[in-house]
Structures are given as C-alpha cells and as structure tokens.
C-alpha cells in the first residue's frame, strides 16, 4: 500500500491507497513541525484502515513548508551568489530587483566573475579558476555555506557551472551548491532568483528530510519516501534535500492530478473549491497544463514552471453581502474561523456556506439559523456564485475542446447540479482529499530544456538527444529504468536568432522503482 500526504497551509490531508483504491483518508489541521504532522497523519490513516506501518511500501509528501519559509522569511540561509558571465550582464547584479526584506534575509555575498556563453555556445569569457578559489575561501571566511552559481546561457551549456562547482568544492569541501542549470530556464535573473531561493533553503531542506525520516521510523513505516514537485512528478528524499525549490507549486498540481485520477480522466478542467478561493486548473494527458507567464513568488520574479491556474476569491468561507447591488461575494473570507463565524454555526457573518445550506445543497451546522433568508435573494446569490465559477472555468477552456469539468475540494457541493449547462461534470468520491491522492499517485519525472543549433544536426536528432537526457534525469529522480515514458515534447524555433536554433523541451515520467 502507499500513503499520500498533502501538507497545506491550513490542513494536512492523508490517504492510504491499495493499488488504485482509497482505503482510508483523513484531514487535520497543519502542525508547525513537518515531522509531527506526518507522524499524526500516518497514524490516523493506519488506525482507520486497521493496518500496521509494515504494509506501506511508499510514502509521497506534498508540502508548502518551503514556500512558506520563503514567504515568511523564516529559517533561511544566507547565500553567496556567484554569476559567471562578466563583463556581460553587469547591468543587474544578483539580488537586483528583490524585495528589500527578502534580500536582507538571504544576501550573504555577491560576485560577478568571468564565464558564460553566447546564444551560439561561444564563450563570453574564459572561466577564472583562481578567482573561483578565492571566492570559495571568502565564502567560508564570511561564514557562508550555501553557494548559488548562475552562468549566462546555462540552459544552453552548463559546463561553466559544473566546472566552477568542482573547482570551489575542491578548494572548500564543506560548501553546498545550487546550480542554475539544474533549476531554471532561460532568463538569467529569473533563473538566478530561483537558484538563490533554492540555496537559501539548503539547511531547512536537510532538516525537514531528517524529521520526515524519523517520523516514519516512529510510526513503523520502513520504506522510501518522496516529495512531489511542481510538475506533478516526485523526487527522492536525497534529491529533495538538494532541490527544495521544486516543491513550490506542488499543492495545486497534486489537486489537479488527484482529481483526474479519482474521476478516471486524463484530460479535464479541475475546479478545486476551498475555503477562501476557487482554483481552476487544466489537466492535459494526466499532467497540469503549465503557465506560459513569468511567475512571481514572495514578490520575486522567477521562471518556475507553475500550473496554469485561474484563481477567484470565492470559497466556502467567502463573506456575502446581500444588500449590495449586485450581490457581493468575497474576496474577503472568514477562512479558518468558518466554524465560529458563519451563521449556521451560530456566528454573525453571512458566508457562502450559509447560502449553500439555505439552498439545501449542504447540510452542516444548524439550518434553522439561515431559514429566515429571503429565498429569492438566496437563489440570486447562489446563481451569482455559479456564474463566477463558470466564468473561471470558461477562461481555462481551450478553443473547441469538450473535456469534462471535475469538481473537488471541501466546497464542491456549493456548485449545484444546474451549473455548467451542456458540459460533463464529474464529482468523484474522496474529492475532499484529492490533493493527497495526487501525492500518492505521483510518478518520477525528468526533463530537458535546451537550445539546439540545427547546423549539422537534424531536428529529429536534436529531439532524440533531448529525450535521452530527460529519460536519464527521470531515472536519476527515482524512476525504474525501462518504464520511463516521454510525456511531452515541445520544440520552439527561436525568433530573431540567425540560422536554425530551436529550443526543445522534453518531459519524461515513470513509476518509481520499488
């Protein structure tokens, strides 16, 4: 059996699955310590199922812990950020265009050193090994342990970064390294930002992995554990300790994939109705469609691949004003205080949950407390909520595709049977823990994103090289060799560049090795 856990900001959800069947599920408030939360969640689902920890063969966790550490500037390492590419790129050194408080919490030192390549792979300047050794000595003298290395055009050629790491590690073996070529895509500032974020989580990541490991020991589960990452694939604990930044968007991704799995579809629009927001994402061939836009995290521009989401401020806890014209719904929410502030729970705040109870869609709290609401107003308000959700779904729907809508999340009953006229709507079982299911079913994944010069190389050969690299990465991330499949190939000719340069992105995925 396998366990999937999703540690969100508010709730920790867990499921125990036997093959494709959900055996037990549990929802509890998130604890400050990741280890404690994992321990409690696993104990609960094992108890419900009446089984011992020995039956568990795999544990997969999705967590917002690292995201929150950055957002709250909590427990971050100071980073020595080194950019290779001088004299190019000096207009904006590392930590440029950062929110002041985040820079204050993470900036250790900065160096712009020779190195880097041009779009055609030709060197900008030769790597300066003596300067790198000096930088390593200086980092140690400054009390810094975590190095972020970013080379200009590293997605095209990572040699400078790996060589610089080897030189610095030989000089100062205690240093740890985050390389931009392992983390981000084209766009030196966005990639460097992500690399620095990864580097500032180095100590936290090692601690969290240790605390999960000891939690598993305490509950008698003796099996490998994995973390789910932004793209819906998983990574081994060792890998996660080195790449905590890859967990940043795992929450919505798990929800989208879990919803598809529970509903038995590979292509769908997933509507996750929570307490404060409703998120709509698109599932395409079993994976979330990714956003093409630059993503922002904690006020910082990065180029992580995030799921393409439309988020609206409507959820079960959204505050409703029937007096306003038109009726006002959200974005303010009673959030975690739903069970004290909502009318049906004896509070004085009218929420979306109260409307759903008054409309007879939901039976929670004391329905008589909302019996006096004008039925005509309730009907107008509930149809307004549906209209907002339908509009969000509409915005995510591609031209002329007829994929079903899957409704999940605690607030799914808020949307009535008359919604989404003319569209197929699926409401799977266990919809309230779809995100934990998404964790449990995660595959190991690998990807490649490089620019190829098609001078002397056919397009097919270039795609083959990219696929080989993605497969290698996938096995490296924990997949069983031989089961790896290519799930996405995307070849984009580069505008303005001379000759025939093409950027090829390949994703591979496969079930984790037993």
């Amino acid at each position: 059996m396998r366990i999937g856990i999703d540690i969100g900001g508010t709730n920790t959800d867990a499921v125990l699955m036997d093959g494709d069947r959900v055996v037990a599920s549990h929802k509890s408030p998130t604890t400050a310590s990741v280890g404690e939360g994992v321990e409690r969640a696993i104990r609960e689902v094992l108890d419900i199922a009446g089984v011992d920890g020995e039956v568990v063969r795999r544990v997969v966790l999705g967590t917002t812990h690292f995201t929150n550490a950055v957002v709250q500037r909590r427990g971050l390492d100071r980073v020595c950020a080194i950019r290779l590419g001088a004299p190019a790129s000096r207009a904006f050194p590392p930590f440029s265009i950062w929110p002041d408080d985040l820079a204050d919490a993470t900036r250790g030192s900065v160096a712009l050193l020779p190195g880097g390549v041009n779009f055609d792979g030709s060197p900008i300047t030769a790597l300066d090994e003596a300067a790198l050794r000096t930088a390593a000595d200086r980092a140690v003298a400054d009390g810094l342990t975590s190095i972020a290395l970013t080379s200009v055009f590293a997605p095209l050629s990572s040699d400078n970064e790996t060589l610089a790491r080897d030189v610095m590690a030989a000089q100062q073996p205690t240093l740890s390294f985050s390389l931009s070529s392992d983390i981000g895509n084209l766009g030196v500032l966005e990639r460097e930002n992500a690399t620095i974020l990864n580097a500032c989580l180095a100590s936290t990541a090692v601690e969290v992995m240790k605390s999960i490991e000891s939690a598993l020991t305490r509950v008698g589960v003796d099996c490998p554990f994995y973390l789910s990452q932004n793209d819906g694939t998983l990574m081994s604990a060792d890998f996660a300790a080195r790449f905590p930044v890859r967990t940043f968007a795992s929450g919505p991704t798990n929800s989208i994939r879990g919803a598809g799995f529970l509903a038995g579809v590979e292509d769908a629009l997933v509507v996750d109705i929570g307490g404060t927001t409703t998120d709509v994402g698109a599932l395409r061939r079993g994976f979330p469609r990714e956003s093409a836009n630059t993503t922002e995290l904690a006020g910082l521009r990065t180029n992580f691949r995030m799921p393409d989401l439309v988020s609206i401020g409507v959820g079960g806890g959204s505050i409703v004003s029937l007096d306003a014209s038109p009726i006002a719904i959200g974005p303010r929410s009673v959030a975690r205080e739903l069970r004290t502030r909502a009318r049906v729970f004896g509070g004085d705040t009218l929420t979306v949950t109260d409307l759903a109870v008054a409309a007879g869609r939901l039976s929670v709290g004391t329905p008589s407390l909302v019996a006096a609401l004008d039925p005509e107003l309730v009907a107008r308000a509930t149809s307004r909520i549906q209209e907002l959700v339908e509009r969000a779904v509409d915005a995510m729907r591609l031209a002329a595709d007829a994929v079903p809508v899957v409704l999940v999340g605690g607030g799914a009953p808020l949307v009535g049977p008359d919604a989404f006229a003319g569209q197929t709507v699926l409401r799977p079982d266990h919809a309230d823990v779809a995100n934990a299911v998404g964790s449990a079913i995660a595959y190991a994944g690998g990807e490649s994103d490089r620019i190829y010069d098609l001078d002397g190389l056919s397009r097919e050969e270039a795609v083959q090289l990219a696929e080989d690299e993605a497969r290698r990465q996938c096995v490296h991330a924990g997949a069983e060799a031989g089961t790896v499949e290519i799930v996405e190939v995307d070849a984009l000719p580069l505008t303005y560049l001379p000759g025939q340069s093409v950027r090829i992105r390949v994703k591979a995925a496969g079930p984790p090795a037993a």
Binding site: G85, P87, A88, S89, R90, A91, F92, S96, I97, P99, N118, F119, D120, I124, V152, F153, L186, G187, V188, L189, E190, A292, N293, E296, G299, R301, D394, A395, M396, R397, L398, A399, A400, P493, L494, T495, Y496, L497, P498
Partner: protein
C-alpha cells in the same frame, strides 16, 4: 507585464493625480519624468505598442534605477528645443532571449552613446525614443537621466514597428545613420549607411557578432528635422494613457483611453484560438476572437508580425496597419503583447489612429498593408478621426 513594477513604486499623493490628461493643456510647463511616470509610460506603451515591443520590465527597472541615481530627466516639447539641438535615440537591437540572458544595459550602453557622440563630432544635447512600445522607450529615458539630458516629447513611429527603417524620418528622406553599437567587451562599431534599409541590414549582421543583442544609438536629428518628421507628444500620450490605466479599470478606463487617442472599440469577446509560427525571424500568426455582447455571433481575426497588423471580420478588413491595433484585457484594460495572447481571455480590440504622416503616399508605401504582404490598400477604420492628443502636440 508591469504589474510587478507597480508594487514596488511609491504611489503619488492623490492631489497630484488631477494632472491626468493635463500635460498638453499647458505646453509651456516644464516637466520632469519621475519613477511613477516611467511606470505610466510603460503601461501606455503597451497600448501604443500594438502588441509588440516585448516585455518592458527590465527597461523600466533600469530607467527607475537611473532616475534614483542620477535624478529625474526633463521632458521637453519639440518647441522648447534650442535651434542647435542634436537629439539621438537609444535602442536595444537583437533578440529578446539573449537580452534576458546578457542584460545588455551595462557599460556597453554608455560606450555606444560615446561612440555616437564621437561619430557626430559634437555633443548630443537630447534623447528621443525611437518608438513607443516595449523596452526602447524607457531605455532612451534612462540614458537621458544618466547623461543629464532632456527627453524630447516625441518619437519616430508613434507606435512600435519591427524594422529600423519603419520610422517617420524615412518618409521624409532623413537618414537614421550613423549608428553606434557596443558590446560588453568594449567593442564599438560605427555604421554610416547610404540609407535606412542598409542600416537595418548592417545592424543585423553586427548584432549577431555581439551575441544577438546589443545597445545601439542612432537617429541623429536636428530640431528642424524633429519638427518636420517625428511624432510629437507621444511620450506624454503614453504617460497619460498609463495614468488612466493605473487609476481606473474596465469600461471606464477603456472609454478614457479611446477619448485620449481618438480610437474606437472595434470588437469585444473571448479569444477562441491563437495560431503562431516563426517565419524569417518574425513571430507571425493570428488570433481569433469570438464576439460577445454587442458583437455576439461574429468572429474577429487579428493578424500579427511581432506587432498586430490587420483586423478582419470574415474577409473584410476592419482596420489595418499603419493604424494602431491593440488587444486589451477587458477587466484591466491593459495591453496584451502578441506572445502573451491566451485562449479564453476576455478582450477588447482597439483601433487607434496612427500619426497622419503615415497616411502620406510614401508613408503607406513603406508601412501600409502591402509592405507586410497583404493584398489590400489601406483603409481607415470606421469612425477614425485624427488623434486629438497628437494634433494638440503639433499645435
């Protein structure tokens, strides 16, 4: 695009906002360009940039930093220039991807400026943006701040175009040469070309050697030439539009923008398809929009080559280049660049009048529909009237 920028900039006290749209009413008044103005100009450029010009994020950050370090540059109207003025334009030439990696706005930009001054043999006294749209508008302003020069309230397109020769100077036979380009190593190349088509060719070859991206200084212009051949008041117009967008949204913003530019809402609906490919180095394609509300039942097709060029309903052109065609997000009224067009977005298509110089026979010859390969003659869109803002700036 510039949403990131707005979060980090101090907001202007509300009593200063009454100046929206008031710049041109008092042409004698001198203005300095603040960080807030840069933010507004970037937003306005996304409307006047007709879907092109790229992401102005880096350029805006660069200009704001230059203003913080060197002070606010003065914005002067064409009339205010001294008779012996020499204005030049700064541009980043090349591909957006190398720009994202090499951030070519360091010492190379200053060296290109110095190279230009040397080639001219006399001091440069003002900066003038080559186009309104994307990174180049704000880079010229940044350089003005750095060198303590005024910014001329004008540009050479009144919009964005993808080629160096598509400037109002070409209509009047004024050369953009010499051009000075520099790289990060200290190399400077000065080009003196026989015409603007040659400048485009030579610049493209040089930029490849410089890593497919380089800052360039060009477009040397005297006051007389600027009076004759530039689009007057376009920086103010971009700034005014930006102020509207920063203060208002939706229908309210849309009406105000149309009022300011003399444009019309050509169509409104939902993007139902985007088709994009690369031909000859251009991002070419078309977007389909399913009509809603007053436009329900119809479909509009907007074609683009870096910039939006033509809008059709069926086979009937409803608006065409060189008039401005911009697709805006309905809720915010912010301009959407062609690379960010997305299925499902609710949008309005705005048609706005180009500067009248583009409607001359020579203007239409170099930048009309036929230049871009369309077998139709230019036709004004329904309800077209000359831009009130640009006319006012011309006096």
């Amino acid at each position: 695009m510039c949403r990131l920028l707005s979060r980090r900039l101090p907001s202007v006290p509300s009593d200063q906002n009454v100046a929206v749209g008031g710049w041109l009413a008092s042409p004698g008044m001198r203005r300095r360009l603040s960080e807030r103005d840069i933010e507004a100009i970037a937003e306005g450029s996304a409307i006047l940039g007709t879907g092109g010009g790229g992401d102005p994020y880096l350029g805006s950050r660069f200009a704001c930093r230059a203003i913080r370090e060197h002070g606010e540059p003065e914005l002067v109207s064409v009339d205010e220039l001294p008779d012996d003025a020499l204005a030049v334009a700064a541009a980043v030439v090349g591909s957006p991807v190398p720009m994202m990696e090499k951030l070519s706005l360091g010492e190379e930009l200053g060296r290109a400026f110095d190279g230009m001054q040397e080639a001219m043999g006399r001091p440069i006294t003002a900066m003038m943006s080559p186009e309104i749209g994307g990174v180049n508008t704000v880079v010229s302003i940044a350089l003005a701040a750095e060198r303590g020069l005024p910014v001329v309230d004008a540009d050479s397109m009144g919009r964005a175009f993808p080629e160096v020769q598509l400037v109002t100077q070409t209509i009047h036979g004024i050369g953009v040469s010499p051009m000075s380009m520099a790289d990060e190593h200290g190399n400077v190349v000065i080009m003196k070309a026989v015409d603007n088509f040659w400048t485009e060719r030579l610049a493209r070859s040089t930029v490849i050697q410089f890593g497919a991206i380089a800052p360039a200084l060009a477009f040397p212009l005297t006051k007389e030439q600027i009076e004759l051949a530039s689009v007057h008041g376009s920086v103010s117009l971009a700034r005014d539009i930006g102020e509207i967008l920063l203060e208002r949204s939706g229908e309210d913003a849309l009406r105000a923008v149309l009022d300011r530019t003399g444009g019309v809402e050509l169509f409104a609906g939902k993007i139902s398809g985007v088709d994009r490919h690369v031909t000859g180095g251009w991002a070419v394609g078309e977007v389909h929009i399913e009509g809603a509300d007053a436009f329900a039942g119809a479909t509009m097709r907007v074609t683009f080559q870096n910039e939006n060029l033509m809008a059709y309903v069926g086979d009937e052109p409803m608006a065409c280049v060189p008039d401005l065609l911009t697709i805006v997000e309905q809720d915010s009224c912010r301009g959407i660049t062609t690379e960010r067009l997305r299925f499902g977005s609710r949008v309005s298509v705005l048609a706005m009048p180009c500067d009248e110089q583009w409607l001359s026979p020579r203007g239409l010859e170099i930048a009309g529909p036929r230049h871009f390969g369309y077998d139709v003659d230019y036709r004004p869109f329904e309800g077209r009237r000359p831009s009130p803002a640009l006319l006012a700036a011309r006096g």
